[in-house]
Subunit: 118 residues, 2 copies
C-alpha cells in the first residue's frame, strides 16, 4: 500500500476534537496597536471626520490610517504624533483613553459592547 494512501486513510479516520464554546481559550488581551487604533478611530468618528480628512492633515495615506485604526499596522511614534495632532488631542490624553479602555475590557462580566457607549 503506497505511503500516501495510508496517510490519507488515517486522515479520514481523524475525529475533530470537540470544542464547546465555553472551552475556547479566552480572548487574547488587546495589544497596544489594537487599543490605540480604537482610540483614534473613536475620536475621529466623534468629530464626524472622514479617514481622508485626517489622513490628509496627518500626511499619512488613507489605507495606512485605516489599518492603524483597525490595529493591523504598528504605528511609529512620529506617525502617531501626526495623527494625534490632526485630531487636536495630545499624547497623554490618547494614552489615558487607551488605559481606560483596557481597564474596562478587563472588568469581569462586562460585555465588550459597553465600550461603545462609553
Amino acid at each position: 500500500m503506497p505511503y500516501s494512501r495510508d496517510v490519507s486513510e488515517q486522515a479520514d479516520n481523524v475525529i475533530p476534537f470537540p470544542t464547546a464554546p465555553e472551552e475556547r481559550a479566552p480572548e487574547p488581551e488587546p495589544r497596544l496597536r489594537d487599543v490605540l487604533g480604537d482610540v483614534l478611530r473613536d475620536e475621529r468618528q466623534s468629530q464626524d471626520r472622514t479617514l481622508a480628512e485626517v489622513a490628509d492633515e496627518a500626511a499619512v495615506s488613507l489605507p495606512y490610517l485605516s489599518e492603524i485604526e483597525r490595529g493591523r499596522k504598528e504605528v511609529s511614534s512620529d506617525v502617531l504624533d501626526a495623527i494625534v495632532r490632526s485630531l487636536e488631542l495630545d499624547l497623554a490624553e490618547v494614552l489615558e483613553r487607551a488605559a481606560d479602555r483596557l481597564r474596562s475590557s478587563e472588568a469581569p462580566g462586562m460585555p465588550r459592547m459597553s465600550l461603545l457607549a462609553a
Copy 2:
C-alpha cells in the same frame, strides 16, 4: 589665492550667532517611544533587575531592550507585551504611567527631575 585658503579665512571670520538659553526652541514634546522607554526602565530599575534578566525573560536582545528603554527604537506591540509581562505589569498600567509622565512634564515650571521622585 587658493580657494581652500579663502574659505578657511572666511571661516576664521565667522562669529557664532549668540543664542541665549532662554532663546532656544522649547524641548520637543516626548514621543510615545520616549515615554514608554522611561516607564519600562524605571520599573526595571525599581525591581533591581538587570537589562540582561528582563531581556532574557522577554526573549529580546539586550541591546534592543536598551535602545527601547532609551527611546531610540520603536517597540512593536508584541515586543512591548513581552517586556511588560516580564516586568509583571499590565499594559494599562504602563499606559497610565506614561500618561502621568507626559502630564507632569507638561506642567509649567515643574523641573524634569521631579519625575524621578514620583
